[in-house]
């Protein structure tokens, strides 16, 4: 992964993290705000319902008091106060009065608690309603909840009691409304809210006792925990019920216990607030946040890419420059402006490459001087050998002419022969130096390396078995299906000759000369190894240096010429040697020598990188 990619990924991660944090923060804050708003809204509605409930209680009280104060009721009370009053004539009165006053329950009760007339259960006349006769100020009591027995079973009623006193006898008017689905239906509730009522009429939770304005409630058993908690400890509580896995189906229920006169739990009012609107709104906001985040991420993606490219451009220029330097182009320069760390790094890089170039120049100069010194030394060494016989011969001629004129002719003939021979040696030495200086450029053509190896070995067969010297045994391991390579046959022939000559020199006591060819990753390998005396490490390091030789009479140009030929073929030569074991030279020759790229200037390299970036 490139530095730019890493930087881009880091930018993106930071951006994603930031967007996620912001989105989560907005979502949480929104949810809290909605929850708070929802709570306030529900509290207000619960309070409104409580007021409505109280108002209904007052209304019931007023209607019951109105019945008690009405003329027929007063007349009834007067009649009933008489001794031996006939109460049977009033047995059906409650029904009509209840209807006219829109009451679900209405009972006229005598001073002893006997029911004179009952609207909700007309057949109960004569039975006692003793709780009415208890000492209580009904006028100040107001309305209250009570469990009543009806013909259909127990029911919950919002009751009020009014007493009409005539003499020492009371006529009680007990009236009220049934707390049932009609009562719930009469409540005005906003949309998304509903009111449920649990009638606590049985010892244990009964789903059928939970009603709403339409009657029974579906999945009423889900309310059992709330109701049981209310039954255990009557107090206002809030509970959330998730009807399905969809959060929008949830409802928050506020349970309000409704107590009777003795503070017994008679009913539980449940105000349900659907979360569908809130959840839908929250989802809408969430999706909006996600959309904005997505747009932000896309924009951030583009910005990150651009910023990463801009930030990493000097670095990539530096990297390109470094690659150029590693490829040997020490003149590379990086065009980076600015004074920041990258700019300072680029300046340091440029100084470094400049320093490298300078040092290389100095090294070249030093090596050049050293080479010339070596050449001079070799020349002096090579020329000194023939010069000494020449000098001696000339001095013999001078001495013979002065001291032994009679022998001069004989000396002269011998001396001139020696002089000519030494001069010939000098010419040979000069010719070798001349040949090295005039190394030709290779003329490439299809070459079978195996053929060249076989031809060269054939030339040396006689020398391998020459009389008077230990034999050398050549071993050829030539690879099959070796591809032809683009090379100069003559030069390769000469290089292999030099290597064989070098190996023969290394094996004065004879040995095995092994040659091997093989194909290796688009190259053709040639290896030649001997079982000679071997080289020291220092000798191995300098073995390809021109005019360096370990032999008494060598020119030090043989292996230098080999290296030059291999280099001209874009090949590579290495040497491995071990003292007493032998030496092996390894040549790698490309099947197709690559085309030499044009040499470019450092500025051009930097500009090319920049152009690629701009593209």
């Amino acid at each position: 992964m490139t530095f730019r990619s890493k930087l881009f990924v880091n930018f993106m991660l930071a951006l994603l993290l930031s967007v996620a944090l912001v989105t989560a923060g907005v979502t949480v804050a929104t949810r809290r705000a909605f929850d708070e708003l929802n709570r306030q809204h529900t509290d207000a509605l619960v309070e409104q319902f409580q007021r409505e409930f109280d108002r209904r209680g007052h209304d019931v009280l007023h209607r019951v008091q109105g019945i008690a104060e009405a003329e027929p009721t007063v007349r009834m009370a007067i009649d009933l106060s008489r001794p031996n009053a006939d109460i049977s004539v009033y047995v059906n009165d409650a029904h009509g009065v209840a209807q006219s006053h829109q009451l679900d329950f209405l009972d006229f009760v005598g001073t002893d608690g006997s029911i004179i007339s009952s609207a909700e259960w007309s057949a109960r006349f004569g039975y006692k309603m003793e709780w009415v006769t208890q000492k209580e100020d009904w006028a100040s009591r107001g309305s209250f909840l009570m469990r009543l027995d009806t013909q259909e079973g127990p029911a919950l009623a919002l009751l009020a009691v009014a007493a009409v006193r005539v003499g020492d006898k009371d006529l009680y008017v007990v009236g009220g409304e049934r707390l049932g689905k009609e009562f719930l239906a009469s409540l005005v509730l906003p949309e998304n809210m509903r009111a449920l009522l649990y009638l606590n009429l049985d010892p244990a939770f009964q789903p059928v006792n939970l009603i709403d304005s339409a009657g029974s409630v579906a999945e009423a058993e889900r309310f059992e925990p709330i109701i049981e908690r209310e039954r255990a400890h009557p107090s206002a509580l809030t509970e959330k019920i998730n009807w399905t896995f969809d959060a929008a189906s949830a409802e928050i229920f506020h349970a309000i216990p409704k107590l009777g006169r003795q503070n017994e739990l008679l009913g539980v009012l449940l105000i349900g607030n659907s979360q569908r609107t809130v959840v839908t709104l929250e989802r809408h906001i969430l999706w909006l946040a996600i959309g904005v985040a997505a747009i932000g991420i896309l924009f951030g993606l583009f910005l990150s890419w651009w910023a990463a490219a801009r930030v990493t451009l000097p670095v990539r220029r530096l990297a390109a420059g470094a690659r150029e330097v590693s490829d040997g182009n020490w003149n590379t320069r990086v065009a980076v402006r600015g004074t920041d760390e990258i700019g300072q790094l680029a300046q340091s890089f440029n100084r470094m490459t400049q320093e490298l170039v300078d040092q290389r120049e100095r090294l070249i100069q030093a090596e050049r001087v050293a080479a010339w010194r070596e050449v001079a030394r070799r020349l002096a060494h090579e020329l000194k050998n023939p010069l000494f016989p020449l000098q001696t011969t000339v001095e013999n001629l001078q001495r013979a002419s002065t001291q032994n004129p009679d022998q001069f002719e004989e000396v002269f003939r011998e001396s001139t022969g020696i002089l000519l021979a030494e001069i010939e040696n000098l010419k040979i030495i000069v010719g070798r130096f001349s040949d090295f200086a005039k190394m030709p450029q290779p003329e490439l053509g299809p070459v079978d390396l195996n053929d060249i190896v076989r031809n060269v070995v054939k030339l040396f067969e006689a020398q391998f078995c020459a009389v008077g010297r230990p034999p050398i045994t050549p071993e050829l391991h030539l690879g099959e299906n070796l591809p032809t390579i683009q090379a100069d046959t003559t030069l390769l022939h000469r290089a292999i000759e030099n290597l064989i000559l070098n190996a023969m020199d290394a094996m004065p006591a004879g040995g095995i000369l092994m040659m091997r060819t093989a194909q290796n990753n688009g190259n053709v390998d040639f290896e030649i190894s001997d079982t000679g005396v071997g080289l020291t490490r220092e000798e191995a390091d300098r073995i390809f240096t021109p005019y360096y030789t370990t032999k008494q009479h060598g020119t030090g140009l043989g292996l230098a010429i080999v290296q030059a030929i291999v280099a001209d073929h874009n090949g590579r030569i290495t040497v491995e040697s071990e003292m007493g074991v032998g030496t092996a030279f390894h040549l790698e020759l490309p099947v197709k020598p690559p085309h030499h790229p044009n040499q470019t200037t450092p500025v051009v390299v930097a500009q090319e990188v920049e152009k690629k970036e701009e593209a």
Partner: protein, 396 residues
């Protein structure tokens, strides 16, 4: 002096004549049409055609009393149709009938020329028509007698001749348990039913026959004992939940059934009342009866009208009606059955606990002001319309 005395006597005589009640001064007159409304729908006057329900049977008996001049040996009217005070001149089955005066009636021609009978009129309409003077004579429910009288309607009641009884139906779950039946029979507050529901028009019934007919009704207890009912209930391990059916078109039966349910509830017995439709009756408003709905009941209220003043005949008729319902298999009383035989038969049925008499109810008639010389019918009499005449000065 004599002249002055004569003048005084003449003046006193004139004052006395003027002060005398006007109606007593009027003589009966012939003519006019007596308007009658009844609740039943009589589909046929043929004796061979059985009545569809007790109400029709009762109405048919009332009409028979006008059309026949004497009763048979069984106490019912029989003989030649038209031998009575009136003859049928117009007949629309189930709707309307016009009876004209029989000139050859054995006891003399009735005063009114004709009697026009409207059938199928509801109790509410009958009472309303009486108050509005749209009819001259109508039967009204016993429980509405007092309110009707309070609204100015002349009310006349007969001897109690209609029995309201609770019958435990054959095959009802658990009702074979005599203890449960006994508990229910004991907890019924008959006096409250008579005083409050019937508005004191009737009397508690302990037996199947009224006192005026059998003379032995006083031997059957009508006492209420909620305490003993509770004791019996406590001796029953598991009381079944019973359903008491009543005619959904009959408000009186509904009120009585609901009261019995309250009495039973107080005694700890689960008994609920439920309206059921009866043949020929339309469900009253407010009942929960739906067409085609099969209602299972363990017991039901039954009204039985005495068609004959003879106790043996009435008891036999009752047994024929109630026996199949309650599963009572009893041999019919022979014609030679003595009053003691009738009593023991009645006692046997009561002791079975399958039939619980509740109240005896009279027939209550509303009469308009122009109907004169109305005499309260005797115990064995029906409509005494042959002797009434219409006062034209108090026309509709």
């Amino acid at each position: 002096m004599k002249l002055r005395l004569c003048l005084y006597l003449a003046a006193i005589s004139a004052v006395l004549v003027a002060a005398a009640p006007s109606h007593t001064a009027k003589r009966p007159r012939y003519g006019g049409t007596l308007q009658v409304e009844i609740g039943a729908t009589v589909t046929s006057l043929d004796p061979a055609v059985a009545a569809a329900n007790p109400e029709e049977a009762g109405a048919k008996a009332e009409l028979d009393a006008l059309l026949y001049d004497r009763r048979g040996e069984d106490g019912t009217f029989a003989g030649v149709a038209g031998s009575g005070a009136f003859r049928v001149s117009e007949w629309e089955a189930g709707k309307r009938a016009v009876l004209t005066a029989n000139e050859d009636y054995r006891e003399g021609r009735p005063f009114v020329d004709s009697v026009e009978i409207q059938m199928g009129r509801s109790a509410h309409d009958r009472v309303l028509d009486l108050e509005l003077k749209k009819t001259d004579f109508a039967q009204i429910p016993a429980e509405q007698a007092r309110p009707a009288a309070d609204h100015g309607v002349r009310v006349s009641t007969s001897q109690p001749n209609e029995l309201l009884a609770l019958v435990f139906l054959r095959g009802g779950p658990g009702i074979e348990a005599a203890r449960v039946r006994e508990a229910i029979a004991r907890c019924i507050d008959r006096a409250a039913i008579v005083n409050f529901i019937l508005q004191k028009e009737g009397e508690p019934a302990g037996g199947l026959l009224p006192q005026w007919s059998s003379g032995t009704a006083f031997l059957f207890s009508t006492e209420t004992s909620a305490r003993s009912a509770k004791e019996i209930r406590s001796q029953i391990s598991a009381s079944p939940k019973l359903v008491l059916g009543y005619d959904s078109a009959d408000r009186l039966e509904q009120s009585v059934a609901e009261r019995i349910a309250v009495n039973a509830k107080e005694a700890g017995i689960s008994l609920t009342s439920r309206g059921i439709s009866s043949p020929g009756n339309k469900p009253a408003h407010g009942t929960d009866i739906r067409p085609g709905e099969a209602v299972h009941v363990d017991a039901r209220l039954v009204r039985l009208r005495m068609l004959s003043p003879l106790p043996r005949v009435s008891l036999t008729a009752f047994i024929e009606t109630l026996g199949p319902m309650a599963g009572i298999v009893d041999s019919p009383l022979p014609q030679s059955a003595s009053p003691e035989d009738v009593y023991y038969c009645e006692r046997s049925i009561i002791n079975s606990g399958l039939i619980v008499p509740i109240v005896w109810m009279p027939q209550v008639y509303g009469i308009s002001a122009r109907v004169r010389d109305w005499k309260q019918p005797a115990a064995s009499e029906t409509w005494p319309l042959a002797g009434v005449w219409l006062d034209s000065s108090d026309a509709h």
